[in-house]
Subunit: 366 residues, 4 copies
C-alpha cells in the first residue's frame, strides 16, 4: 500500500522540471491522498536525507517557472559518490545508504525525473529493489523510448530566436554568423532550429563535415547577391576524420582553448574565404526561461501519468510520448543507447530540399 512517494530531479536543468513536480504533487494529493516528499539535489538528497514535504501551496505558481525547486546536480551518483571521510574526500558506493534511507524516510515509491545518467542510476536502484518510475528529461532529445520530452521545444524556440536575431546582423555586415547550440551526441536542436531559422548550413555529430562544401555554399551565395551566411553547429559536430584527430590530447586542448567547434569553424572559414566570421555560443540560455506552452502541457501530462503508473504499481517504467499519446516504456531499454538523427531521414532530406548544406555534399561554386 502506498502512503508516501518521493520525487527528485537529476542532471542538467531543463524547462518544465517544475511543471512535472507540480503535476506530481497535485495528482498525488488530490487524486490519491498520499503524501509527497521532495528530495533535494537529485540522488544526493537520498544520501544525506535532505528532503521536505511538498504540499499544494508549495507548487502554486510553479507551472510557468523554469528550473527545479528541488535543486539538481550532475554529481550525485550514489554508486560512485565523492563523500567526506574524516578530513578528506573519497569516492565510494553509497547506494546501500540510499536504499536504507528510502526505507527510513517511509517512502513507498520514487519518481526520478532525469536523463540518461539519472535513469541509469534509477535502473541500478531498481535492481536493488526500489520501486521507481521515471520521467524522461533530455533537452537534447536524444533519449530512446519517447518521441520527445519536455524542455526540447523551449530550447528549440530559444535557439531559433537567436538565429532570427543574427540574420539581420549577418546580412547588414555581410558576415558569416555561426551559432553553436547544444547537442554533444545528437544534432536534434541544431537540425530543427537550423531548418526553422533558415540556416544555410547545419553541422551535426551524425554527419561529419568537410569545409569545402561550406566554402562552395558561401561562394555560391556571394555570386547571387547574398553576401552573408548563417551556420548552425551542434557542440558535438566534428569534421571528417575529426573523431580521431580531436582525441589527440594536443588537438582537444586546442579546440577547448578556441572555445569549441563553433569557434574553430569560424577561424577556418575566415581563413578560406574573405568574409568575417563571428561565433555565438548559446550555452545555458537554452536551458533557461519559462517553458513553452507545449512543454508545460507535456510536463504536466508526464507528471500526472507518473503518479498513475505508481498507482498501477507499474515500476521500472518511465512515462513516454509515443506519437501524441502518453505511454510508458521500460527504463532498461531507454538507457541502452542514444536516439540520434538519422542522416538519411525525412528531416535531413527536408533540410536539403531547402538548400541547407551539411558539409558532406559536393557543391559547385556556381
Amino acid at each position: 500500500m502506498i502512503r508516501q512517494i518521493g520525487v527528485l530531479t537529476g542532471g542538467g536543468d531543463c524547462p518544465g522540471l517544475n511543471a512535472v513536480i507540480r503535476a506530481v504533487v497535485k495528482t498525488t494529493l488530490t487524486q490519491y491522498g498520499w503524501r509527497v516528499s521532495g528530495i533535494e539535489d537529485g540522488f544526493e538528497g537520498l544520501v544525506f536525507n535532505h528532503t521536505r514535504p511538498l504540499k499544494l501551496e508549495d507548487v502554486r505558481g510553479l507551472l510557468p517557472r523554469g528550473g527545479t525547486i528541488l535543486g539538481t546536480t550532475n554529481r550525485g551518483n550514489p554508486f560512485s559518490m565523492r563523500v567526506p571521510r574524516g578530513d578528506h574526500f573519497e569516492t565510494r558506493d553509497v547506494s546501500d545508504q540510499v536504499v536504507a534511507n528510502f526505507r527510513a524516510l517511509e517512502l513507498d515509491a520514487l519518481i526520478v525525473i532525469g536523463g540518461d545518467g539519472s535513469l541509469k542510476i534509477a535502473h541500478e536502484l531498481i535492481a536493488k529493489g526500489l520501486p521507481i518510475v521515471g520521467v524522461p528529461k533530455t533537452i537534447d532529445n536524444d533519449l530512446m523510448g519517447t518521441d520527445i520530452t519536455f524542455g526540447f521545444d523551449t530550447a528549440l524556440a530559444t535557439a531559433t530566436d537567436a538565429i532570427d536575431k543574427l540574420h539581420t546582423t549577418a546580412e547588414s555586415h555581410h558576415r558569416i554568423m555561426i551559432v553553436e547550440v547544444m547537442g554533444r551526441n545528437a544534432g536534434w536542436i541544431a537540425l530543427e532550429a537550423g531548418i526553422a531559422g533558415s540556416a544555410d548550413a547545419i553541422l551535426i555529430p551524425e554527419i561529419p563535415f568537410r569545409y569545402e562544401p561550406l566554402e562552395a555554399m558561401i561562394a555560391l551565395r556571394d555570386r547571387t547577391g547574398r553576401k552573408f551566411s548563417i551556420i548552425v553547429v551542434a557542440e558535438g559536430a566534428l569534421p571528417v576524420g575529426g573523431a580521431e584527430v580531436y582525441q589527440a590530447p594536443a588537438r582537444a586542448g586546442q579546440l577547448a582553448r578556441l572555445g569549441g567547434i563553433g569557434a574553430e569553424v569560424a577561424l577556418e572559414l575566415e581563413r578560406r574565404t574573405d568574409r568575417e566570421a563571428r561565433t555565438l555560443v548559446l550555452g545555458h540560455l537554452q536551458r533557461g526561461g519559462s517553458p513553452s506552452a507545449f512543454d508545460r502541457l507535456l510536463a504536466t501530462r508526464f507528471g500526472a501519468a507518473a503518479v498513475h503508473l505508481i498507482a498501477n504499481r507499474d515500476f521500472g517504467k518511465m512515462v513516454a510520448l509515443h506519437g501524441w499519446r502518453v505511454a510508458s516504456f521500460p527504463i532498461a531499454d531507454a538507457i541502452s543507447k542514444l536516439k540520434r538523427v538519422p542522416p538519411d531521414g525525412e528531416l535531413v532530406r527536408t533540410a536539403r530540399d531547402m538548400g541547407i548544406v551539411f558539409g558532406d555534399e559536393t557543391i559547385e561554386r556556381g
Copy 2:
C-alpha cells in the same frame, strides 16, 4: 509529365502558410526543376485567372512571416460563387471554368493549402479530374487524418501568453477573468492553453457546462485565500441544453449582442457571485504573428512532402503528421468528420488531475 504546378491558400489565415509556400517553391525549383504558379486569393484565383509565377527570390525571408503572400478568402467556393452578371451579382457553379482555367494555365498539378472547407472543394475538383494534393491547415486542430498541423502551436502559445498576462491582473483585483479563444466545434486550443496557462476552469464545445460547478469552484478558492479565477472558454462552448436554446433566433441574437459566450459567462458569474468578472476575446490575435519554431518546421516539412507526393503522382491525398512522421492521408477521409476532444481522454483527465473544472462535475463548496 509535370512541368508546372499551382499552389493556393484557402480559408482563414494561419501562421505557417508562407512557410509552406516557401518550401513548395524551393523543393519544386531545386529538386524537380518544374515551374510554380502562385494562385491568388484561394480558388478565386482559378476562377479569375489571377496567378503569378513564383521564383526563389519571391520566397526569400518568407519563413518567419505570418500570413500568406498569395492572399486567401473564405468566400471562394467555385461550386457556389457570387459572380457578377451584367449589372448584378448571382451565385453560380463556376467549377467548369476552374477546370478549364487549370488546363489553360498549363498546370499539371495543384497544391491546395487549406482546411475542411478548402479540402472539400478540392475533393469535388478531384472528382472532376484535377490532379490535386492537399496540405491540411486548421488553427483549431479539428481536421481528421493528421495528428496536428501547423499554426496550432503558435495559436496555443499566443493564448497561453494571454492567460499568463491575465493571471496577475486577476489576482491583483480579485477578479474572475474569462478568456475566449478560438474553437467553434472543437476545444483543443481552450483545453491545451487552459492546462498550460493554469486555468481554473475550461469550457469546451465537447463538454456542455453548468454554472453551479463554476460557482462552487470560485467559492472553494475564496475559502482558501485565492480570491480570483481564470476561466478559458472556447467560442463554441455551450451550457447544458444550450445547443437547443441558442438555436432560437432571439437567444442567438442576444448572445451575439453580448459579444459571445465569454461575455455571457462573465455576466452570469457576476450575477451568481460577488466578484467582478472581465472578458477578453482573443480573436484574430491567434491567427497572427511569426510562426513558432515548431510550426515553421512542420510547415516546411509539409510543403516539401506535398511536392514529393506530386512527383509520385499520389493525387487525392493530403500530407499529414502521424505521430512525428510525415505521412499522407486520403482527402476524402479527412473531410468526412471533425476531430473533437474526447471528453474522457487523457488530456481532459490530466486537466481534472490538476483541479481544473469543466462545468460537468459536482463540487462541494468546501
Copy 3:
C-alpha cells in the same frame, strides 16, 4: 523620527507595481532600518486594518512579476466608501477612521502608489495631516508632473505586438483590422503603438475624427495595391461632434452594446467601403505580463526614491521622471489636470510624416 512606513497600491493593475513594492522594502530595510507595513487592497486596507509586515523574503523574485502582491481596487475611496451598516450598505466618509488607523498602526509615513484617483485621495489625506509621498502610476501616461511612469512601456509593447500580429492577417485577407487600445482621456498608447506598429490611421480623444479621411485613405491604398488597412483606436476616441452625440443616453447605450468605439468604426467602415472590417479589443492584456526592462528599472528607481523622500521628510510630493532624471513633484499639482497628446506636437507630426491619418485631414482618393 521614523520607525515604520506603510505602502499601498491603488487603482488599476499595472506592470511594475510589484517592482516598486520590492524597491521600497529593500531600500527601507537595508538603507534605513525602518519596518515596512504592506496595506492590502489600496485605501481599503487602512479602513479595515488589513496590513501585514513586509520583509526581504516577501519581496524575493518579485521584480519580474506583474500585478501587486498587496492587491488593489478601484472602489477604495475613504471619503466616499460603501461600508456595511447593520444589515445594509451605505456610502460614508470614513477618512477619520483612516487617520485614526494610521496612528494606531504606528505608521510614521505612507507611500501611495497610484494614479490620478489614488493621488487625489492622498492629497485629501495629506490635508488631514498624514505624511504621504506618492509614486505615480498610470498605464495611460496621462498624469501631469512626470514625463512617463512605469507600466506604459510594457503596455506599449503589448499593443505594438498585437498590431504586428494583425498585419499579416489583415494583408492575407485584404481586411481592415481595428485595434482598440486603452486611453479614455489621452491617446498616448494609441499614438505611440500606432507609429511603432506602422498603423495606417490612429484615432485619439485629442483629435476628433471624421470617416471621410479614413475612407479616402483606404481607397488610396487600394489603388496602390495595398488592399488592407490597420487602424488603432483609443477607447476614448470620438468622431467630430461625438462628445455631444455620445452623451445622449440612447447613443451611449448603443455604443456600449456595440462593444465600444472600435466596433462602431468597423461597422461604419464596412458600410462605407466594400472591405470586411474586424475589431480586436486589447483590454486587460495591456495591464498584464512581466514588466519590460525599462519599466522594471523605472519602478525600482521610483521605489527607492520614494523612501529617500521620506527620509528627507519631503512629504506631499510624488517621485517623478523629468527627462531621464528621477525628481519629485507636488501631488497637488499632479492631480490638477490630465496630460494629453498635443495635437500639433512633434509626435503627431511625425506620425503624419509617416503617412498616418488621424481623421481630421482632407485626403484625395488618388
Copy 4:
C-alpha cells in the same frame, strides 16, 4: 535648393537602423518631394559610387526589421581606407574622392546614421564642405549630446531576458552565472540590465572591481540559503589595477584566450569559492532582433527630424533626444568625449539600494 539627399549607415549593426531609413525616405518623398539616394556599406558607398535610389516601395515593411538594408561596415573611413592599387592594397586618404563623388551623384545633403566613429568622419567631411546632418547610433548609449538613442532599449531587453533565463538555472544548480554584455567603455547595458534582471553584482568599466566583495557577497548569500549568484559584466570591466596589468601584451593575450573578462571572473570565483561558475557571452545577440516599440518610435522620430533639419539647412548637427523631446546637437560636441556611467549617480545608488555589489565596497561575510 535641395533636389536629392543621400543616406548611409555606418559602424556596427543596431536595431532601428531600417526604421530610420524608412522614416527618412517617407518624410523626404511625401513631405518635401526630393529624391533619396541610398548609399551602400557606409562611407565605402561614397568611395566606390555604390548607391541606389530609395522609393516608398523599398521601405515598406521595414519598420520592424532589424539590421540595415543599406549594409554597413566598420572599415569604411575614407580618410584612411584600404584600397586596391595595381596588384596590391594600400591605405590612403580618399576623402577628396568622396567629395567629388558627392557632387557627381548630384546630392544636395547627406544623412549619416552612425556612432562615434562615423560621426567623426562626418565631422571631417563637413570641414571639407559637405552639408551633413547626423543621426546618432550607439547600442552602448555612450554618445554625448543625446540622452539616449535607438537600439539601446532593444539591447537592454535582450540582455535582461538572458539574465531572467539564467536565474532559474543558476538557482537549480546552485551556481554562479556570469553574463558578459556589451560595453567596452561604458557600462550602461550592464548597469541597467543588471538592475532590471535582479543581478547580485554588476561590473562596469567605470568602477574597477576587487574580487573580495564578490566573494563576500557569495558567502553572505550562501549563509542565507541562496546558493547561487548572478553577475553581469560589461566587456570592458576591469579589476582594480587591471588597466595597467591588461595592457601588458602577455596578459592581454591571456584574457583574449580565456574568452574575455567574463571568463576570467568565472575562473577566479571558482578558485576562490567552492561553487561552479559558468559564463555566457551575449555578443551579437544584443545587436539583432526586431527593434522594441520604444526603439521603433525613436528611430522614426529621428529619421523624420533629420530630414526637417536638412529642410532648415541646419547642417553640422545631429538629431538628439533631450529629455523626451527631439532636439539637435552639434556633431563637433557629440564626438568630443564619451558619455560614461557616473559612479556616484542615482542609477548606481539605486542598484546599491537593491543590494547589488559593484566590487568596490567592503562587505562582511555575515
